[in-house]
Symmetry: C2
Subunit: 361 residues, 2 copies
């Protein structure tokens, strides 16, 4: 770690994080995501597995195939810190040469940067690179004025990250990031919509918008097409500590008759074993462009399960009707009739935030 | 053209458009974009050149290289009609195997469908096809209930279209589309932002949103990186007849000192030769994520030119400050700090519409 402005030189002898890094030919010193005081968010098992993965590598039984694959996708991953660096370069190697027709490469395979300070976080830039490139080098920030700023880098929504490093001015100050308003995690479980399909850049996934607005760490457990409420997935989520709220938003992948009735009670039961009083918010599905006659039926299944548990004494369980999230002209809010565009994600986050605030504060 | 419900059989002898088309093996009859009563919008020179191109093939002097290339891109193109078909298939061949890293294929190379009736147009579906495919076949609509509906198909924003056909139920009713509130064209000249970079699907380009909201034909003359206000481009636009409003939104490509001062007066002079009283609205640039110190200077150049002309007797010229279009958290409104995402385009259209309504009604 480069020397803080206030650090004394001898600290480098007792803490190697405090050693002054060698500058490369461009005057940059390079940091990995797990160097203190940088804060890596969104990878709950990073401390044991040392990889960018949303689920643990080893589980008591195999994860469902889709979840196993998608656990590598870095949706909701964030790197946070404060620095007076005048530049930020990013080097990354992503796992797969993949791109979907209805999602941008900047959103599925790229990173984006928000800056704060003073004031709220503002979007600054996106990693831009050649189509289907898996290794890239991007300048995310350059400014002549040196001052302390908050940096938040959002990770790719639909790809994994093998290698990651950021380059900052050698010798710049680096500090721990601004404090969260509540450092306990919000863990959101769901479908492709939760994972961030099809935001134009990572910061526009609704979980990342919520994180900025609420100033809380929001961990993304959206698994595209694979949010089916399996018990082993619930067991993994139940392992997460310091959770302020679980959000269950998986109707979109569990719409067959019998799906929600069967999985939802079991999923919540499993969470409740280790999280007896942690708030749980069940969110029903957003509107698609084609009417689904069974939408209200599934909404009732979820609402009734919440009411049943509430009546039985669980006062920390809540329901939010997804029908309201995209507002009146909901048809404008998707790229394909199903997956939100950035207008849709913005509305989802802004319309979920008041409910979440009431629950967690 | 398939028989209208009300057509008498003998009309097919005098008007071949009235002949009943043969169904293919799937029960569909196929139509090209220029068959009556379908209405093709956005290609002002289609009647002479018979191609999907936004500028004339022959001009009195060569078009600037970028404009020549981008004239083939079909931004703003629409096909409109009414039908009771229970299906809509689309076959297309696009010009280039191209895709940008910060734009979806659905937006740059695809089509999307809006449906109306009764009530306003609502987004229904997008053409989905294999990445970088140049020929595709997509089902855009299927519904068991047969009733008369308005169909609006938006053309690709960042690619050309060589071949295009739609398949409807053989024997279905087809009628002219719903009437515009004002059938005269709004012609919008500008940059990549005007062209629709980087909407997630064609219908989210701000010119197409305006067309839906105002119920007016909006012709898109955005030329990515090439909106430099050249006289030959102005001469082409001046050829367009039945214009209710010209919008000049090209600051983003003309930001060098001297650019706007030089080009804007000449551009307007050329339009005024053939359109002495047609309203002209000059719109200054939206905000980018990085502050531009000369933004207000360029805004003043444009505003002053409008004020100067107004004072000199041109009462049909107006200025709109682009600074307000993306609203307070404008940073959230782009994919890369410059090009609007769907949140940005939605706000651009909604915030331009009241000014346009005041001018044209």
């Amino acid at each position: 770690m480069c020397a803080r402005k206030t650090a004394k030189l001898d600290i480098s002898k007792v803490d190697q994080n405090m050693q002054i890094k060698q500058a490369d030919d461009n005057g940059l010193a390079w940091y990995s995501a797990d160097e203190k005081p940088l804060e890596l968010v969104g990878f709950n098992w990073y401390h044991q597995d040392k990889i960018f993965r949303r689920m643990p590598l080893k589980t008591e039984e195999p994860l469902p195939e889709g979840v196993e694959w998608l656990a590598w996708h870095c949706a909701g991953g964030q790197l946070r810190f404060r620095s007076d660096s005048s530049r930020l370069m990013l080097k990354a190697e992503i796992r797969n040469k993949e791109l979907m027709d209805h999602m941008t490469q900047t959103g599925s395979n790229g990173f984006d940067l928000y800056l704060g300070g003073p004031g709220p976080l503002k979007y600054r830039s996106s990693a831009r690179f050649k189509l289907l490139e898996t290794e890239y080098n991007c300048e995310l920030f350059k400014e002549s004025r040196r001052e302390m700023r908050d940096f938040v880098i959002n990770f790719p929504l639909y790809n994994g990250v093998n290698k990651f490093a950021i380059g900052l001015d050698a010798g710049c100050a680096i500090e721990a990031p601004a404090a969260w308003s509540d450092k306990r995690k919000i863990a959101v479980y769901g479908s492709s919509i939760t994972q961030g399909g099809c935001a134009s850049r990572p910061g526009m996934a609704y979980t990342n918008i919520l994180s900025r607005d609420l100033k809380m760490p929001v961990y993304n457990y959206g698994f595209s097409g694979s949010g089916r409420g399996e018990p082993i997935v619930a067991k993994c989520l139940a392992e997460i500590q310091d959770v302020s709220l679980f959000i269950l938003d998986y109707e979109a992948n569990c719409h067959q008759p019998g799906g929600l009735e069967t999985t939802l009670p079991v999923f919540i039961d499993i969470l409740r074993v280790k999280h007896p009083v942690t708030p749980i918010l069940v969110v029903s599905r957003i509107n698609y462009s084609v009417n689904d006659e069974r939408l209200s039926e599934r909404r009732e299944i979820q609402h009734n399960e919440v009411k049943r548990r509430h009546a039985a004494g669980d006062k920390n369980i809540y329901f939010l009707d997804g029908d309201c999230l995209l507002e009146r002209d909901y048809d404008e809010c998707t790229v394909d009739g199903v997956h939100p565009n950035d207008l849709g994600f913005y509305r989802m986050a802004k319309n979920m935030a008041p409910t979440i605030r009431k629950i967690v504060t």
